[in-house]
């Protein structure tokens, strides 16, 4: 007894035929055991039989388009079948299995959905809301209003829900499973990374006087968004990972380049760097105090930059 399985593009079983003959023929014609409605398949395309060792073998019956193993591009007159890798004829994927093909052991009900992801999703969500609330609280310098806390939190919840919803819908469309929890985890992890970085940038800009972490924060933001999107795409389907990675990478580079351009143009137009100078409690300072002389040497060095800018900006209109 042999089972012939027709697979979809996503390798799911689209049709399954049981054949009891010792030799099975497959093709578009009605004199076959299994009929395929694929115009790229010959009337009699391939036959399946057992060889001397009892292995199942597929043999091309002289078709124009030939017989291939899975994604391989090399045409084979004959293939020994292992029941795992499908064969390809025309545009159809077929998997041939013997009745004795071993299947995986039975899974226990409930073991698939461990409590960990649920706990992680709840934990990350709570952490995000907490970070959000703390940020609002620290920026609160006058009367506190409940809406100051509620509006950003609800906005965040709404945005995350919409984002996860879109990815779950895509996953449902393309792989049949929505995997809401997985997408929620990915989105929360991305958002957490973003929040942690922006807090870190603020603190580092003050405590370590690293202005650059703040200035180039947008690069990190885009990178986090790109990584999150890649993880979402991976969760939708594990095929074509390289292609997905390349697409996300290209979009990331484009986004960063466009924003860098836009910033440099805004700077050229206004002369104002897009930086806010953030102060934190003095106890967070991590670097030693500078000597007065050292500070004034650094400040004096700005003059050279200003003069270089002036020389550059003046250059076109010299003839005046």
């Amino acid at each position: 007894m042999i089972w012939i399985e027709i697979l979809s593009k996503h390798r799911e079983v689209a049709g399954r035929f049981r054949v009891d003959a010792t030799e099975i023929s497959i093709g578009r014609g009605y004199d076959n055991h299994v009929i395929l409605d694929d115009p790229y398949v010959a009337a009699r395309h391939v036959r399946i039989f057992r060889d001397a060792d009892g292995r199942l073998v597929a043999e091309d019956l002289g078709s124009a388009n030939g017989l291939y193993l899975d994604r391989s591009r090399s045409r084979k007159p004959q293939l020994v079948l292992d029941g795992v890798q499908p064969i390809r004829i025309g545009q159809t994927l077929l998997r041939i299995r013997d009745a004795a093909h071993a299947v995986e052991p039975e899974r226990l009900v409930g073991s698939e959905r461990s409590a960990l992801p649920v706990v992680a999703a709840i934990g990350l969500g709570a952490a995000l809301l907490a970070i959000n609330a703390i940020t609002v609280w620290f920026a609160q310098t006058s009367e506190a209003h409940l809406s100051d806390y509620l509006v950003p939190s609800l906005t965040m919840v709404g945005v995350v829900a919409a984002w996860v919803g879109i990815w779950a819908l895509l996953a449902r469309l393309f792989s049949g499973r929505s995997q809401v929890l997985r997408h929620l985890l990915i989105a929360e992890a991305g958002l957490t990374a973003f929040c942690i970085y922006s807090e870190f940038a603020q603190i580092a800009a003050f405590a370590l006087t690293w202005a650059a972490v703040f200035t180039y924060g947008y690069v990190v933001s885009w990178t986090v968004i790109a990584a999150t999107c890649f993880l979402h795409l991976r969760a939708v389907g594990r095929t074509h990972l390289v292609a997905k990675g390349v697409v996300v990478g290209v979009l990331l580079v484009v986004a960063i380049a466009v924003q860098t351009l836009q910033r440099s143009e805004a700077f050229a137009n206004s002369g104002r760097p897009n930086v806010s100078h953030v102060l934190m409690p003095p106890s967070l300072r991590l670097v030693p105090l500078r000597q007065e002389q050292f500070f004034f040497d650094s400040v004096a060095a700005l003059k050279a930059k200003l003069d270089a800018d002036r020389a550059e900006l003046k250059a076109p209109g010299v003839e005046r």
């Binding site: 310098t141 100078h277 003095p282 300072r285 400040v299 004096a300 003059k303 200003l306 800018d309 002036r310």
Partner: protein, 463 residues
Amino acid sequence: MTQDVGGRRRVAGVRLGRGFVRTVSALLWRGVIVAALGAIGITGVPSGASAQSLAGADTVYASAPPRLLQIRTLLADAGRQTSTGSGFLVSADGLAITNYHVVSDAALEPKTYRLEYTGADGTQGGVTLLAVDLPNDLALVRVDKHDAPFFTFDKAALEGSLPKGERLYSLGNPLDLGFTIIEGTYNGLVEHSYNDHIHFTGALNPGMSGGPAVNAQGQVVGVNVATRRGGQLISFLVPARFAAALLIRGKDIRPEAADLRKDVVAQLASWRGALYKSLAEEGFHDRVFGSYQAPETHAAWFECWASTNASASPKPRASINSTSCKADASVYVASDLNTGTVEINHSYAKSIDLNQFQFATVLTQLAQPRLTLGGTFRKWYTPQHCHEDFVGIAPPADHPPLRVLWCAQGYREFDGLYDVAVVAVTQDRADEALVSRLNLQAIAYDDALRLGRSFLERLQVAR
């Protein structure tokens, strides 16, 4: 905040030459303004005795037309006026005084603009720029008019011994409506001003810039220059002695030899140098703010205002008491550039029921650099550069640790001039801090370094 309060009270002076005239000239355009009155006084000045008996606006005006001018800036190509001001003859061979801001377009862009005059007696002709006095907003021109009567300067005004309340008559052509005479009173020099200005109580209007303000004898006491928006009849004159000095300095200049653009830049730089030198020499005194003491200037040309948020509603959660000392020593450089303000500002903030982070947010808002622009960035300034660091000044017992932000921008056209903003925040306590700010416009970088250093060194723990 301090700046707001101060800003509301000290409304900026408005120059009289342009702006309004420029925007409204389409409605008011009349081509040629014909003086209604004929010339009476042929000689320069009526004698003192006879003038006394003639005192009155009509008699003062009677002799004015042949010596009173409207000075118009025209687009060289189109031949149409873009702004108008006034002026007056000061010599028989056609030398005349007006405001720098009346002729600045022609001084800075001689290829685009040219000047013409229309006399109150109906004469017209070309105007050649000879010299400018940028700090005092004056210009000396030569008009194409010979053997005409001219104005002389009042001796008492040159010596500065004019009594308050003396009746003055200001002449000019407001809003291009026609020549007018305005009565007003002399009220001495304006206080808290680096440049000397006469406080004239009279209704000056745009277009009268550069016109003379004369006494009852028709002798020049000052030159119309500005009015104050929001004030009632508060107007300003440039004292006659600056015009007399400019006349002596510039009367022999050959116009073709003058590179006015270069001269404007040089005058701006040397005037700013003198101003900052005087600021350093006047020195500072220390003023106590909570646990700190901070420098305030001795210079009388600063105007200081205090402000507090104590009465704010809802009740503030950090008390902020500020003092702001500002010298409005800004000068008109071009129609789109006014610069030169100097400001020293201290805000003492103390937390009432804020935690450390919330208090730091308050300080963040107080400590932004605020480098202001006196004109458009694209035309006049270079990009801003900042340096920020923690600074410890020795000995640590006297000086609190500071977080200092130093931002600077340059002027594209003026080599050696910069705007500098220094902000220092004390870092020794989590619930109180002094945010001190020094804003220096149009300053040489070395002067800024020197002033900035002494400013930071004077931020101390109160003894």
